[in-house]
Point group: C2
Chain length 437, copies 2
């Protein structure tokens, strides 16, 4: 028998390394070697940063011969101030040890600032291309976006939950759902935690979830993924959908400030223009259509077309200097059965989208909380309430007025960072033709 | 056009409510009404607590007639100190407004301290049974367990990531995998983020994920779920699997302290005995077999049987006063292809389990990082390396020695709280016969 006492080492950060002076030790990947004649630069890549190390025969014991990119080494040396180096200091290599060696040379350079690969080559080689510092920075920003969301939710009394992804009926219905063999029966992959969020309003009043969402959409565009990460919340005891929109406004204000505070270096690397959220303008769908017409375009009758969303956002940016705009009161016929219709005009639903820099990133709204009203609406839409018995249990035994929304994490990161394709904001994206890596 | 300014209301906490004195206002569910003759108690349930309110004709305007459980109301009244009340004060109802009404009476009482329902009735009525304060407390503790995990990981330089659940090959192989129709091809639901964790060691060195994991196991026991939440981490530049075990030890120490600090009331409600983690004893598989034999049992040859795990944990509790025990060096033949064999004795793998109060909650170990070694082992095990080309890209282009582990969130909560069935620790559990709610 032995005992494990829980002594763990923190990764060595740049400040600690610099202060270590002559006793600096650091492990990492060989990222780049540049032979300068008299001496060589070795750029070491750790999980958090890159570091300029210098081989010079006057103080280095072992030549760098045969070290190739991807080799894992431990360097012992001296941290020396050097204003021209990216971190303000460099490491004079006294000696190094090889920890592990790659089997092959990289098929292309990942140590250039810009990868300059086409998107498919990038995605096909994800275990490699993500090692590029600019590529991996996307996912430090993605992490901060999700953390900023969770941080705000907790501060505002929301409980984080985990709901099942294998379900007996999809939340959005329709054909865009993945089918699954589940032992001796059929099941589906959930299109949204909608039903569970509503059930849980009866339990915790305010809930949120960060989890995968599955959509079997056949669209192959730069903004669709077939599996994405949903940032979802739902809240009870609202006065109207404006309470949900206000919560999203406050949340985004917090989220962007959080990203700003936690990702200084990554934001600088990408020259990200982080929006400062003050008030967000809101138009009804009919108002939005008018604007789109005035812009010389022909708007869709039931929904906004992608190009109309771009035109509308450009207009709002010019007129209100806002990167965000809410569109409310969509035609009820095109919204799901759980959406509450506007009691003052039942042609429209109390539902909204949020557009960010030309792209829809959120759909949300107020839901029906009254049991009989929900059952009636299901029947009018040709649905059998018996198929939704366990969901309707929440309504039957009492639910307060409530609403919520879902945000696509990858789309939010895409538009925040100005990426051209949503796949760039997914570690290992899934689309109609891509199941690997 | 209107503007949404992001003014949001925090839920009213008990302290704020108490300090509001004569101006107390609070929204919630009618949880219980008890007619005491001269007056009545109305227990109001919010998303976070229950509150004793008093109807008394001397100060209450409107009788409680017809109010039933599940009705959502807003109460206006006076917060008055009352040492006998659970929160140290009660609310004298001046008036109330009905916000929404349920369509039907609850089919059973959820306002008793103990639900006393059989597990299937409980699970069939989840939208209702979770409203019981003791039931929902399980999920506040579950939330704190996951938060405590994430909190520790971040403090120790791990990056949180989101990896796909729809995959072209399962991480664990074998028959225990769900099949999926993916457009014109076949796909699977991932059994673990194992491959992605390893790929990402080459990117961030240390990564973690909290996400659903899918296992098509036909076991119908009190400790199996077919979908559960995996707490996973992986770390690079380790000296051996002991580094991973040390990280888990430190993590659990932090996690349990975190739960202790964040769930005072819920822990008291369930009389939870939260372990204080100091050192965790570790036995090799062969040592564990010897102990099990000495205990008069016949141990399994390749793995520990569930009953042996219970007996071993009882023994360790008696001898070392530890609720946790590591078992290391399992027979290599029964461990997956990515497990590193012990170079000093190749019959055994550098892999370990962690048992907690009689149940395995973790499997982890050191992985193979060398490309040729991994390819050779795959071939020896009858696997075709070509089927794992994108996974092996990580090894081919260089990986440091690394290892990691996975923890089942529901199992951890089950054993922490002393629940009899893992389903009780899942909001909406999935088993071989359960797809609803």
């Amino acid at each position: 028998m032995t005992f494990i006492d829980g002594s763990v080492e923190q990764p060595v950060d740049l400040q600690t390394l610099r202060q270590a002076g002559k006793n600096a030790r650091i492990k990492g990947f060989v990222h780049n070697i540049r032979d300068m004649g008299e001496f060589s630069f070795l750029i070491l890549r750790t999980g958090a940063y890159t570091l300029q190390c210098v081989y010079n025969p006057t103080y280095s014991k072992t030549p760098l011969d045969g070290l190739r990119e991807g080799t894992c080494i431990e360097v012992c040396g001296e941290a020396v101030d050097e204003p021209r180096a990216q971190n303000g200091f460099e490491l004079h290599i006294v000696d190094f040890t090889v920890i592990s060696s790659p089997a092959e040379e990289y098929p292309f350079a990942i140590n250039k600032k810009y990868l300059n690969l086409n998107i498919d080559t990038n995605l096909d080689h994800r275990p490699l291309t993500l090692r590029n510092p600019r590529q991996r920075a996307i996912f430090k920003i993605q992490e901060a976006v999700a953390d900023g969301f969770a941080d705000f939710m907790r501060q505002n009394g929301f409980t984080q939950m985990h709901t099942p992804k294998i379900v007996s009926a999809g939340a959005e219905g329709g054909a865009n759902i993945f089918h699954l063999d589940y032992f001796d029966t059929k099941a589906f992959l959930n299109q949204s935690p909608q039903f569970y969020k509503q059930m849980m309003v009866g339990v915790f009043e305010r809930v949120f979830e960060i989890a995968p969402v599955f959509r079997a959409e056949k669209h192959h565009t730069s903004r669709h993924l077939n599996e994405y990460v949903g940032l979802d919340f739902e809240m009870g005891f609202i006065s109207g959908m404006e309470d949900v929109m206000a919560m999203e406004t406050a949340m985004l204000r917090h989220l962007f400030a959080y990203v700003q505070a936690h990702c200084l270096e990554e934001l600088a690397m990408w020259k990200v223009d982080v929006p400062v959220v003050d008030k967000i303008p809101a138009f009804t769908f009919m108002q939005a259509r008018e604007i789109i017409e005035k812009l010389g375009r022909k708007p869709g009758k039931w929904d906004l077309e992608p190009d109309d969303e771009v035109a509308l956002c450009d207009h709002v940016k010019r007129e209100c200097d806002s990167d965000l705009v809410f569109i409310t009161h969509f035609p009820a016929a095109k919204r799901p059965f759980y959406a509450m219709d506007d009691p003052t005009d039942e042609r429209f639903a109390l539902s909204f989208d949020l557009l960010f820099r030309g792209l829809e990133i959120t759909t949300g709204g107020q839901r029906i909380h009254d049991y009989n009203e929900q059952v009636d609406k299901m029947r009018r839409m040709g649905l059998d309430p018996a198929d939704f018995a366990s969901y309707l249990m929440a309504h039957k035994y009492g639910l307060p007025p409530h609403g919520g929304l879902g945000i696509g994490l990858e789309r939010l990161v895409m538009k925040l960072m100005g990426l051209k394709n949503v796949r760039e904001a997914s570690l290992f994206p899934r689309d109609t033709g891509r199941l690997q890596p």
